[in-house]
């Protein structure tokens, strides 16, 4: 009981005093996950759009694979990226293992299927009448596509937010490929895992609180976006 109370008190102190170690870890977390999200968004939205708008041989297989990849276990992704980047791996020469870049690669792989799958579903749920209406008003095929994507904007934004929630919270892949090096690759989730293991609860709790707040913020944003989308589709 005492350890818990004491831990919380110390945790709040760390947060209130803007402890530099704490801030450094939070900033790195946001950087890694933010960049991974940016990459996943840049690659995933066009791919999701393509899957939603075009039919091609193997389309069904592609969609169901992407849906399956949404649930990729982070440790498996970590292992895969580790093998790729390890010294004897195909990309070993780049020397990326145990760097923030390796973590960004792993989280991009985790975020990508979420962005693709949710974007696709946002796009296919746009009423086909929209494309017809665009054509009656003189849209070129490209303008029709842009119009559909615009109509799906809330769903696409939801996809991006959901992917951010996923990568911020995961620990498995970045622990494996980042190595949890203090001041270099140590982020919120990996620090919590390590410090809890060592019995240093205050830093772990402080980060836990921040992580919960972030996750709360992500969910609030998701809720808002979905409500706005639902309102507009009413």
């Amino acid at each position: 009981m005492d350890t818990i109370t004491e831990g919380f008190l110390q945790a709040f102190k760390l947060i209130l005093h803007l402890n530099p170690d704490l801030i450094g870890i939070i900033v790195l977390s946001l950087k890694v996950s933010g960049l991974a999200l940016l990459l996943a968004t840049l690659i995933g939205i066009p791919l999701g759009g393509f899957l939603g708008l075009r039919r091609f041989p193997g389309h069904g297989l592609a969609v169901s694979s992407i849906n399956t990849f949404m649930g990729l276990p982070p440790v498996v992704v970590g292992l895969f990226v580790y093998l790729l980047l390890s010294r004897r791996g195909p990309l070993g020469a780049l020397g990326l293992l145990y760097t923030p870049s390796a973590m960004i690669i792993a989280q991009t792989i985790l975020a990508l299927p979420i962005v693709i799958a949710l974007c696709r579903s946002a796009i296919v749920s746009v009423d086909p009448i929209i494309a017809q209406a665009a054509r009656t008003l003189g849209a070129t095929p490209r303008q029709v596509t842009t119009t559909i994507i615009t109509e799906a904007r809330y769903g696409i934004l939801s996809a991006v937010i959901a992917a951010f929630g996923r990568v911020m919270a995961e620990v498995g892949s970045i622990l494996i490929v980042g190595g949890n090096i203090a001041g270099y690759t140590r982020v919120m989730t990996t620090t919590i895992a390590l410090e809890t293991d060592k019995g240093n609860f205050e830093l772990a709790l402080a980060l836990g609180i921040i992580l919960l707040l972030i996750s709360f913020g992500v969910n609030a944003a998701l809720h808002l976006v979905q409500r706005k989308g639902a309102l507009h589709a009413a």
Binding site: A133, T136, L137, G138, T140
Partner: protein, 245 residues
Amino acid sequence: MRLTLSHINKHYGGKEILRDCSYAFSDAGTYVLMGGNGCGKSTLLRIMALLEEPDSGTVAFLAGGKVLAPDPTIGERHLHEQHDKGSSLDAGRLLTPDLALRRRITLVLPRIGLFSTSVWKNVAYGLSLRGQKGVAADEKIARALAFVGLEKKRDQHALTLSSGESQRLGIARALALEPEILFLDEPTASIDEENTSIIESIIKTMKQEGRSMVIMTTHDRSQAERLADRLLLLTQGALQDVRQA
């Protein structure tokens, strides 16, 4: 602009929908196409509005003494002439003749398909597709909205409009583009009497102002009587001229 249909045939699956439909829409005014549910009115309208191809037969437009047809074997030279004038620039690229032609006519669908944005932006949409922005475009939008009585709702979200207002917005969205032929597919099928009479008077005013030829469908006989300069009937895939006013 005049419109000529020659020997239009259309099947869906094994089912014949339109059989050898020919007609010349040659006078300004309102043409009303009647026929039972599922007889092919919407299909014929989509074909005339160049949104769907017939299995065989041609749709040709006549404007300024030139034949403009989506079929490249008809009036091709004229299409290229029109093309070369560069009158239809789309973001710097020349449009295909088909699209250039399609942009001179507009179809209002029975389910309008409003975009999830403001009333104003719904009307602005077609103009911005054509690269038209700024004061001149704003004036067209304002005029179209005033014409259908939606000027006060310009900032409202389009998907919160009533069905009658939605239908009027659909018409405003088309009118802002100043189409030479306006196709209306069952414009009053799903709305109340008040909005029906508003829409009927919009159609009548359009005729008085001589803006564009209107070709519409309805299954309401008395509405057809009220609006039609010419009444056409589609039965078992065949198009007949019933009455000439």
